[in-house]
C-alpha cells in the first residue's frame, strides 16, 4: 500500500495572526479624559463661586444703602432725646446745686466750641 506524496501546507487563507498583544477589557476613560472632566466640573464650581461672590457684594450694597437711608431718621430721633436729656440734667443740676454759691451751671469740661457728647449717660 502506498500513500501518495502530499506536501504539508498552511491552511487555505493562511494562518491566523499570532495574538502577541495583551487582550485586556476596556477599563474606563484615560487619565487625560478624567483630568479634563475634573477640570470642567471644577470650572463650573469656580464660576459659581465667582458669581456668588458678585451677588454677595450686591447684597451687601443693598443692606448698606438700606441702613444709610435710615440713618437720618434714627439720628434725628436720638438727637431729640439727647436734647431733652441734656436739658433735664441741667435742671437737675440747678436744683441740686442751688445752695452752692458761685456754681456754674452746665460748666464745660473741654476748652473748645465743638460739641463733645457726654461720656456718661445723662
Amino acid at each position: 500500500m502506498s500513500v501518495p506524496y502530499r506536501q504539508d501546507m498552511p491552511p487555505p487563507g493562511g494562518f491566523e495572526p499570532i495574538r502577541y498583544k495583551r487582550y485586556l477589557p476596556f477599563k474606563g476613560p484615560s487619565g487625560a479624559v478624567i483630568f479634563g472632566i475634573a477640570m470642567l466640573i471644577s470650572g463650573f464650581g469656580i464660576h459659581g463661586v465667582g458669581m456668588a461672590n458678585r451677588e454677595k457684594r450686591e447684597l451687601l450694597r443693598e443692606k448698606t444703602w438700606a441702613r444709610i437711608h435710615l440713618v437720618p431718621l434714627l439720628m434725628a430721633e436720638g438727637d431729640r432725646d439727647m436734647y431733652r436729656r441734656t436739658h433735664a440734667a441741667l435742671e437737675r443740676e440747678k436744683e441740686i446745686m442751688k445752695d452752692v454759691k458761685g456754681w456754674q451751671y452746665g460748666g464745660k469740661v473741654y476748652n473748645t466750641d465743638k460739641y463733645i457728647p457726654p461720656s456718661i449717660q445723662i
Binding site: E58, H69, E77
Partner: protein, 150 residues
C-alpha cells in the same frame, strides 16, 4: 424737688421749647428695614438736608428743625404704605422678622410690596452704585443666595 420733677424727667418735653411736641416714629426695625428704600426715595431732600446740617455741627440742638422734617416725612411714608399696601407690607416685614432681616430671604414677599408701592405710591427702589449693565440684586430671578428651606 417736686416742682421741678417734670424738667428732671428725661422723657418730658423741654419747657419753653418753641417746637410743638412730635410723635416719635415708634416703629421697630423690621418695618423700617422693609420701608427703608421708600423712605430713602421719598425723603431724599429732607435726609440730605439733615445730614448736611449735622455736618456743620454735631450738637443735638443744632438740627432739631431739620430732624423733625425727616421724622415727619418717614412717618408719612409709613402711613401711606400702611394705607395702600397693608397686606404686602405686613407680609414683607413679618418675613424679615423671621429671617434675620435678610432681604434675600424675602424676595417672594418683596416683589408684591414693590409692585404695590411703585404703582400706587410712585416710590422707587434704586440701589446706588450697582455696576453698569448688571441687574440690581432685588430683580434677579434666580439668585445664588436664597433661603435654604423652601
Amino acid at each position: 424737688m417736686a416742682e421741678n420733677k417734670t424738667a428732671a424727667d428725661p422723657l418730658t418735653p423741654v419747657p419753653g421749647d418753641p417746637l410743638p411736641p412730635l410723635q416719635e416714629i415708634g416703629t421697630t426695625s423690621a418695618p423700617l428695614k422693609s420701608a427703608a428704600y421708600f423712605i430713602g426715595d421719598a425723603c431724599k431732600e429732607f435726609n440730605e438736608d439733615f445730614m448736611l446740617c449735622k455736618n456743620e455741627s454735631r450738637d443735638p440742638a443744632h438740627c432739631l428743625k431739620e430732624g423733625r422734617k425727616v421724622t415727619r416725612c418717614a412717618q408719612d411714608v409709613l402711613t401711606k404704605l400702611r394705607a395702600a399696601c397693608a397686606a404686602e407690607f405686613q407680609a414683607h416685614w413679618d418675613c424679615l422678622e423671621w429671617n434675620n432681616q435678610y432681604y434675600y430671604a424675602c424676595r417672594k414677599e418683596e416683589r408684591p410690596l414693590n409692585a404695590c408701592a411703585f404703582t400706587k405710591l410712585g416710590y422707587k427702589k434704586e440701589i446706588p452704585g450697582v455696576p453698569e449693565g448688571q441687574q440690581p440684586i432685588h430683580l434677579i430671578e434666580k439668585p445664588y443666595f436664597r433661603r435654604q428651606q423652601k
